[in-house]
Structures are given as C-alpha cells and as structure tokens.
C-alpha cells in the first residue's frame, strides 16, 4: 500500500482508537461510586437525546474542609466518602488521599458556594425515552472513577435499581 494512504488510515485509526481508549479506560479500571442527582433535559443538535444531570456534589459549600476559596476555571479534587451514596468530605487543588473525583470550577460565589462539573453531566438515552422522566432524591448515578479522579457515568438508578430506557412508539402515541 502506498505511504500516503498508509499514513491517512494509520493516523485516523490511531486518533479514533486513542479516543475510544481514553473514554473507556475509567470504566475498565475505575472504582464504583453512587452519586445523588438532579436533572434537566435538553436535546443536542449533534448527539440526539440525553439527560443533563446535576449532582449533589455539583454544588460545593465552603463549610466543607477545603484548601481555600475556589476560582472559576480551576481544576478541583473532591474527596468522597466510601460505601453507600458517596458524599463530599472535602475539596482542594491537590489530590487528596483516598477516594476522590476530579472536576472543574464553573462558578464561584462570594459566599463560598461553587458550581463544579465533572464531565459526567450528560447521560444518553434512546430516542424520546427520557422525556417523561422526573428525577427526585430517590435517583442516583452509578459512576466509575479511576485513580486520577476521571469519572464516567455508567447507569442511572432509582431506589438502588438500575433504570433501563427504551423508546416505545405505542407509549408515545398514548
């Protein structure tokens, strides 16, 4: 095969497989955690239907042990409790010992409350199947978190049971 074609195919395959590994690695090597959630529900032009999720740990309060005030745009590490639904037990700019998740500060209020995202704020569902879902405190998300704090959401749970989403045309007509 010619060199140019080899480069095109090899380079493209490397980028795509590399991205696939980046996306998949935390789900293969990470530890399970359950996070309590709160949702909204938009539609993305490029990616079909998904639920946009906010977690309880999406808002951090200054009352938690911390390294100092957070600034918008910075990376933050949030230490989590182990066992049951994970709760934040502290945060800071340095990786803590134990179980933690990595996030980015989106907004930091003067009163010490900060909005943080973790890259797990989106959950894709089959077409139209997420429209009538109403999230309350009985909903949690099962996430995998790797040793560096990178997280991927793998399932949504209601009262501890995994929820499956599927589109039913009959239900849509009703």
């Amino acid at each position: 095969m010619e060199r140019r074609l080899l480069f095109v195919l090899g380079f493209t395959a490397a980028v795509l497989v590399g991205f696939l590994l980046f996306a998949a690695l935390p789900t293969m090597t990470g530890r399970d955690a359950e996070l309590r959630m709160v949702p909204v529900d938009p539609t993305d032009l490029f990616a079909g239907e998904y639920m946009t999720i906010a977690y309880e740990i999406s808002t951090l309060s200054a009352s938690l042990p911390n390294d100092g005030p957070l600034r918008a745009g910075e990376t933050v590490y949030v230490a989590l409790s182990e066992g049951g639904v994970a709760e934040p037990v502290g945060y800071g700019y340095r990786k803590p010992a134990g179980f933690f998740i990595k996030g980015t500060v989106e907004e930091a209020d003067r009163d010490g409350r900060s909005r943080v995202t973790y890259g797990i704020e989106r959950f894709y569902v089959p077409e139209r199947s997420g429209r009538d879902v109403r999230i309350d405190r009985s909903w949690t998300a099962r996430v995998k978190i790797d040793a560096h704090g990178n997280a991927r959401v793998v399932a949504l749970l209601k009262d501890g049971t995994e929820v499956t989403f599927s589109y039913s045309p009959a239900a849509e007509r009703r």
């Binding site: 095109v8 380079f11 993305d44 745009g73 959401v153």
Partner: protein, 431 residues
C-alpha cells in the same frame, strides 16, 4: 468533449507554444479558455458528489443521534470506524488509480465527516461531556493532517471550520469565567454572545491569521492549492467582523460599567496573543513574497486589527439605570469611532476588490461586492427606518434594493470579464 488528459496536456503545452512563438499569448489564452470551459462540466460532478457525501454523513449522524439501542455499542463503533477508514480508502483509490478524482475527493471528504460522527458516537456510548466542546479540537486534529496528505481543500475547509468553532467556544468560556451577566448555556460557544464586541475582535484576528497562513502557503510549492482556502476563510472572517464594528452599538452601549469590569482579563490576553501571532506570521510570509503588495496588505491589516482591538477595549458604557435606547443620551447615528470604522470598512472592501483584481482571484471580488451591498443596506436601514413611515419605507427600500442589485451585478461582471484573459494566461503559466 475533450478528455481530461487532453486538457491537462494542453495546459502544459500552451506555455511552450507561446514561448516558441508558434501561437500568440492571446491565442493561447483563448485555446485554454475554450477547453477549460469543458472541464468546468466536471465541477458539477464535484459539487453533486460533495453534496452526496454531506448527505450520507448527515444521515449516519442522525442514526447515531438516535442512540440506536438495537445494535450493540461495540458493533456500532466497529461499523463507524470501518466506514470512516473505508471512505478514505475508496476516495484515495478512485482519485489516484481510477481517474475519478471528483468522486474520490467527495468520498475522502465523507471520511472526514465520519471522523466527527465517530467521535460523537464514542462520547455517546461513554456519556462523555465537555461543555467546552473539545471534541471539535479532536476532530480538527484528526482531519487537518489528512487534508495535507490527500491535498484536499474541502477537508481543510472542514478543519478550519471545526477549529474556529472550538476556538470560539474556548474564548467564550475564558472571557465569561466568573462573569455574573454570562448567558448561561450548556454549549460554551453561545456564551460568546455575552461578550460580543470581544468576540468580534478575536474572530477578526483569527481571520487575519487564516489569511496570513494562506500567504505562507503561497510561498511553498507543495501546498499552493491551500492558499485560497485559508484566504477565503480569512477574508470572510475579516470582512464579517469588520462589518460588525461599523454598528455604533458595538462601540458604546453594549456594556454597563459593571458588566465590562466583570470580563475575565485573560480574554484580552487571548485576543492580543492571536493578534500577535497573526502579525508575526503575516509579516514573515509577506516578506518572503516577490509581490510587494503582500507586505503592504500585511502592514495595513495589522494596523486595522490593532485599531479594532483597541476600539472594543475602551468602550463607552451605558448607565445601569437606563434600559431604553438611546439610554438618556441624544440620538446619534454615528459616534466618531463608529464613523471611523465605517470608513475603514469601506477601505477594506475596496482593498479586497482591488486585490482580487490584481491577483485575479474571483472570490475576493465576490466577497467585496457582497459585503459592500450588505453595508449599504445596513446604513440605509439605520438612517431611514425612523425617518420614513412604514409603507413608504418598504417601497423605497424595495426600489433601492433592485437598483443596488442591478448595479452591483453589473460591476461584478465587468470586473470578472476584465480578469478572464489574464486568469487564463496565469492558468496556462501554472500548467
């Protein structure tokens, strides 16, 4: 119809015939014009094939967007990755080995679209989310080297668009970090609207950077074909954002003092960094050109860019307690700054038209005339909308538009006709 090989051979042969004195320069140009026109028919094939590629890409994107649970995730990934590589392979094969260059290019372009669709699919399977739109940067990184390897201007154009989108999203995110008036959006690109004057400045600088990179390609033999793609995007970004600056609203009244103070200072850092890179690349590439017009263009555009950035960096702010235009001030059609920007915008339009004529580049003339028309209409509406009653305004506007369209089309044809023989001669010289 003459075969493609014949036209190619003719393009090689005519300059030699002219050099040997067997045909005159004009005869050579007319010969090329005659057969090149037949070759144009193949451009239709190119356009049709490219549209086909876009439709297939959009179709697959829609299927992926449905999050089709009937197919296991791994199979979806394998199918899409395979289709991407297959499209590249088939495109290359058709273009280089089977004499179907247009269809081959369209298939390669389809491959570049499918790279983006594949990235979206992986994001979907693993519920990945980055509000900053980093998937667009990955898409850019994955396709621009391929554009160079395959010498495909359409893939490059896609790469320039995805990069501009990603860059805009980053800028919006940085500029509005911590700003209380930020327009909330899940997609960082839309935060650009809350810092619009700065967005105009940064995209104007990006336009000049694209133009400068185009000029850089003009000096290198291996990628001269890309110069036009870079310049086309560059001129469009430049003229569009310069046009935005002709509105008085962009220089005053956009911000309250509190809003302006809440902008992240890093936003200005980003603007000046892009501007500095643009000037350095532009001057470096222009100095290497034999044509001195490039250097003067680089100097003039650099001054304009600096002026535009300064103009949005020191705005006239509106009082916080006024919400109705003109915010407690007397109505003014122009401020001194917006008047200056109008004059400079017209100079840019004339400059682009002149450069188009001098360099025999059709798209420059078309863009110059398009933006001139848009500017005239904008100023007309600004001036007359409150001075004429509704019905009269529409009748007069309609008449003005028809006259304007007629005269501009006439001017455009005159310019293009003037260019034709010289373009044909240049084509012949380039072979």
């Amino acid at each position: 119809m003459a075969s493609r090989r014949f036209v190619k051979d003719l393009r090689n042969e005519v300059p030699r015939l002219v050099a040997d004195g067997l045909v005159t320069e004009d005869q050579g140009a007319r010969l090329l014009a005659r057969y090149a026109a037949q070759d144009e028919g193949r451009n239709v094939a190119s356009i049709v094939a490219t549209f086909g590629a876009i439709l297939i890409g959009l179709g697959i994107l829609t299927l992926v967007a449905l999050n089709w649970e009937a197919i296991p995730a791994l199979v979806r990934v394998l199918l899409l990755f395979g289709a991407t590589l297959g499209a590249y392979h088939a495109g290359y094969d058709l273009r280089c080995h089977r004499s179907f260059p247009k269809v081959g290019s369209a298939l390669a372009f389809l491959g570049a679209i499918l790279v983006g669709v594949s990235i979206v699919l992986v994001e979907q399977i693993y519920n990945l989310h980055s509000s900053a739109g980093h998937w667009l940067l990955l898409w850019t990184v994955a396709i621009v080297p391929v554009a160079y390897a395959l010498e495909s201007a359409s893939i490059l154009a896609l790469g320039l668009l995805t990069f501009a989108y990603w860059f805009g999203a980053q800028f919006g995110r940085v500029a509005t970090l911590g700003a209380p008036h930020r327009w909330w959006s899940d997609d960082a690109l839309f935060t650009l609207f809350s810092v619009w004057p700065l967005t105009v400045a940064v995209f104007l600088s990006l336009g000049i950077l694209y133009w400068a990179i185009g000029t850089l390609h003009d000096t290198r033999g291996w990628s001269r074909g890309f110069a036009r793609t870079y310049r086309g995007f560059g001129v469009f970004f430049l003229l569009f954002n310069a046009y935005m600056l002709t509105f008085r609203w962009f220089h005053g009244d956009f911000w309250t003092a509190e809003e302006f103070a809440s902008i992240n200072p890093m936003a200005f850092g980003v603007i000046w960094t892009v501007a500095t890179i643009s000037v350095v690349v532009f001057l470096t590439s222009a100095v290497g050109q034999r044509d001195r017009r490039e250097l003067w263009t680089a100097i003039a555009l650099s001054f304009f860019m600096v002026l535009a950035i300064v103009s949005v960096s020191f705005p006239q702010v509106r009082p916080s307690d006024y919400y109705e235009y003109p915010y407690g001030r007397p109505y003014e059609l122009f401020t001194p700054l917006s008047l200056l920007m109008n004059v400079l915008f017209l100079a840019l339009v004339v400059g682009a038209g002149w450069l188009g004529l001098a360099r025999h580049e059709r798209y420059l003339i078309n863009l110059a005339i398009l933006f001139f028309a848009v500017d005239v209409i904008s100023r007309y509406v600004e001036f007359f909308r409150d001075r004429l009653s509704g019905g009269v305004f529409f009748i007069v506007t309609g008449a003005v538009l028809i006259v304007l369209a007629f005269s501009l089309e006439k001017a455009r044809r005159r310019f293009l006709t003037k260019m034709e023989p010289v373009t044909a001669r240049n084509t012949a010289a380039r072979g």
